[in-house]
């Protein structure tokens, strides 16, 4: 009994956590470069609708994911133009981006409501998925799920072990200093936003092509904002984001699992926990090391940017 509960919870957390993790990685990259993108929700939506539409038209889920990544990247470039080239207020630009995404995708997605796709199918891992009981439950996911943790590790490696990542983080700490050291902060930030846009688009695509296999207006339902919270929760670190995404995804999955088992707990109180936890984590640990956030980002949060 406990086994099936934990198993179901694990599976549910992975399903719910995967798009969250992709989105969190996207936002983490952006924020490491010193840019807050509150419009991640819009980027995800663009990916979701572009991916779904492409899959409907071409029948290929792979093409759909690719298109989603491209759509997300391009959409984020719009944001980039505003906050990098025009040095516009990041928070306002992000919110504007979100609203734009919601409206634009409603328009773009209109002909695709009610369409049917085969979508991304699960790929049972050979050998591992043959384990009795555990196998089919734990090792039977679609390709985007398998790729997400490697992606997180890749992002971590790039940010912390490559020169590019170092330069990016330097820009996030102090763009002027980075500039003085010979880096071009603008190019670096644009690159960060492009990659983040790819990841955000993929996150959205996972929702529409793999999980729900359908399109509905505003189907991300706030997951983009959750990712912003998740980045904070994971202290801007890609590896901690894995845990965070699992936790947040777990909260979503937990309350549904609880219901399926007949446990009387209010789903809303449960859903609150991740956010309160984030605040607590920050209050307790963020205070001591006041600059857990990249310094330039901190200035955005302080309003002096």
């Amino acid at each position: 009994m406990i086994g099936s509960f934990l198993g179901g919870l694990f599976v549910g957390s992975i399903h719910a956590g995967t798009p969250l993790l992709y989105a969190t990685l996207a936002e983490a990259i952006e924020e490491r470069a010193g840019i807050v993108n509150l419009g991640l929700e819009g980027v995800m939506l663009m990916g979701a609708v572009a991916g779904f539409a492409t899959t409907v038209e071409t029948g290929s889920a792979a093409l759909g994911v690719l298109t989603a990544a491209l759509a997300g990247g391009l959409f984020n470039m719009l944001f980039g133009f505003l906050v990098i080239t025009r040095r516009a207020n990041q928070l306002a630009s992000g919110l504007a981006l979100m609203f734009c995404g919601v409206g634009l995708t409603a328009l773009l997605g209109m002909p695709y409501i009610g369409s049917q796709i085969k979508g991304l199918n699960e790929i049972p891992l050979p050998f591992l998925s043959d384990f009795p009981v555990v196998g089919p439950v734990f090792f039977n996911y679609d390709i985007l799920v398998y790729l997400v943790v490697p992606m997180a590790i890749l992002v971590w490696w790039v940010l912390f072990s490559t020169r590019w990542g170092l330069s990016l983080r330097a820009v996030g700490e102090n763009p002027m200093a980075a500039f003085a050291a010979g880096k071009n902060p603008y190019i670096l930030q644009y690159q960060a936003l492009l990659i983040a846009g790819f990841l955000g688009g993929i996150a959205g695509a996972h929702l529409s092509i793999a999980i729900a296999k359908t399109w509905a207006e505003w189907m991300t339902a706030g997951r983009g904002f959750i990712a912003v919270a998740l980045v904070i929760f994971s202290k801007w670190h890609p590896l901690r984001a894995i845990v965070g995404a699992l936790l947040f995804g777990g909260a979503i999955a937990l309350q549904l699992q609880m219901q399926a088992r007949g446990v009387p707990v209010s789903p809303f109180l449960l859903d609150m926990l991740p956010y309160i936890l984030s605040l607590a984590v920050l209050a307790v640990w963020g205070g001591a090391r006041r600059h857990a956030a990249p310094a330039s980002l901190g200035r955005v949060f302080q309003g002096t940017e």
């Binding site: 599976v11 296999k213 219901q259």
Partner: protein, 367 residues
């Protein structure tokens, strides 16, 4: 430099303002033709959702086909909030004389607008309050769900059935209860699990809920949300059976696992509404249809349903229609052990709005 810029800005602004004003006042009204009746319908979602909204939309289209002089003003994705009132008023200002606010949550806004415009008629699906110019209608679905239960109870292999439901509204609870009772009447071992997503439409959440149920060993998935596509698709993918709702066209999403479904075919009913208004014979009442009505349709059975189950279903259907049988005949206990219907008594369809409990054998929280 800046003077030039601000001059340009001024000119631009003046141009745009003047242009807009000219156009606003110069263009004639949108609708110039004479229609005998204008009907306004508000949808909570998209009319291509293969579900709740599409059923209403097609009903209105059929009405228009039957009555060519009727004009339809249709608007989708109206949130169940303050905006609903404004949308209704705008439709009325455009001349609508019949408003169909097609979502549960539009009831209170509709009642408010109805008070302001006593000469406009409203027909609200699933409502439970009336006004002199606001009537309600619905098809009493529990009996249909009972039939679904019979079919499902004989098709399930694991004896575990599940329902993904939007909200624990009484009418939905009644449906689940009837489903379970029907299944139990042909299979004593069944249990039904219910998961509420908390909202009428959230495909990723519905997917997670469906998967959670399937993880529990459920092999029959039913759904009560606005668009059944997500749940039915997941059932089909994981080789489970599915029971549809709202719209007949959903069957194509589950060619193998489809058991049956309950669909609303509102067209003739809407035609009747329009005719009554045009002839002046409309009156405000709560119209509760049943299996014999033309707006409640049972979908064709899928290949997995055994023939004897189909026979049982048809027999029971006749009993319901003739009045020999009822969905909620006592004794019935709820899933907390409280007796809700005494032996020999029947929970009347008119009291469905008060059913805030789930039947024994259903695992779920109707909170």
């Amino acid at each position: 430099m800046s003077k030039k810029r601000s001059n340009f800005g001024l000119k631009l602004m003046a141009m745009v303002a003047g242009f807009a004003l000219a156009v606003a006042f110069a263009l004639p009204e949108a609708s110039a033709q004479q229609a005998k009746l204008k009907v306004g319908i508000l949808h909570i979602g998209s009319i291509t959702d293969a579900g709740y909204n599409q059923a209403h939309a097609e009903g209105v289209q059929l009405m228009k086909k039957n009555l060519p002089h009727v004009e339809v003003i249709e608007i989708e994705n109206v949130p169940e909030a303050a905006d609903a009132e404004r949308v209704m008023e705008t439709m009325i200002k455009q001349g609508a004389k019949l408003i169909i606010p097609a979502s549960f949550g539009y009831l209170d806004p509709a009642l408010r607008v109805a008070k302001k415009y006593p000469d406009v008629k409203f027909e609200h699906p699933g409502g439970y309050k009336l006004a002199p110019n606001l009537g309600t209608y619905w098809a009493s679905t529990p009996e249909a769900f009972y039939l679904m239960g019979i079919a499902a109870g004989r098709t399930t292999k694991t004896n575990k059935m599940g329902y993904v439901v939007a909200l624990p509204i009484s009418f939905f609870l009644a449906n689940i209860n009837a489903f379970h009772l029907g299944a139990r009447s042909v299979n004593h071992k069944v249990e039904t699990r219910v998961v509420f997503t908390g909202t009428f439409l959230d495909p990723p959440k519905e997917a997670t809920a469906a998967n959670a149920l399937l993880d529990q060993g459920v092999d029959v998935l039913g759904v009560i949300v606005d668009s059944p596509i997500t749940v039915v698709q997941i059932a089909e993918k994981r080789a489970a059976y599915s029971v549809g709702y709202h719209y007949l066209g959903v069957q194509k999403f589950a060619p193998k696992g489809w058991i049956s479904g309950i669909a609303f075919t509102w067209g003739e009913l809407y035609t009747r509404f329009a005719k009554q208004i045009m002839e002046g014979t409309w009156k405000s009442e709560n119209k509760l249809g049943n299996l014999a009505s033309d707006y409640l349709t049972i979908a064709p059975f899928g290949p997995a349903v055994p023939g004897e189950a189909i026979k049982l279903v048809n027999a029971k259907k006749q009993d319901f229609i003739s009045g020999k049988a009822h969905a909620f005949t006592g004794p019935i206990k709820d899933n907390k052990g409280v007796e809700r219907v005494k032996p020999g008594e029947v929970w009347p369809m008119t009291l469905l709005g008060k059913m805030d409990w789930l039947v024994e054998g259903v695992i779920g929280q109707p909170k």
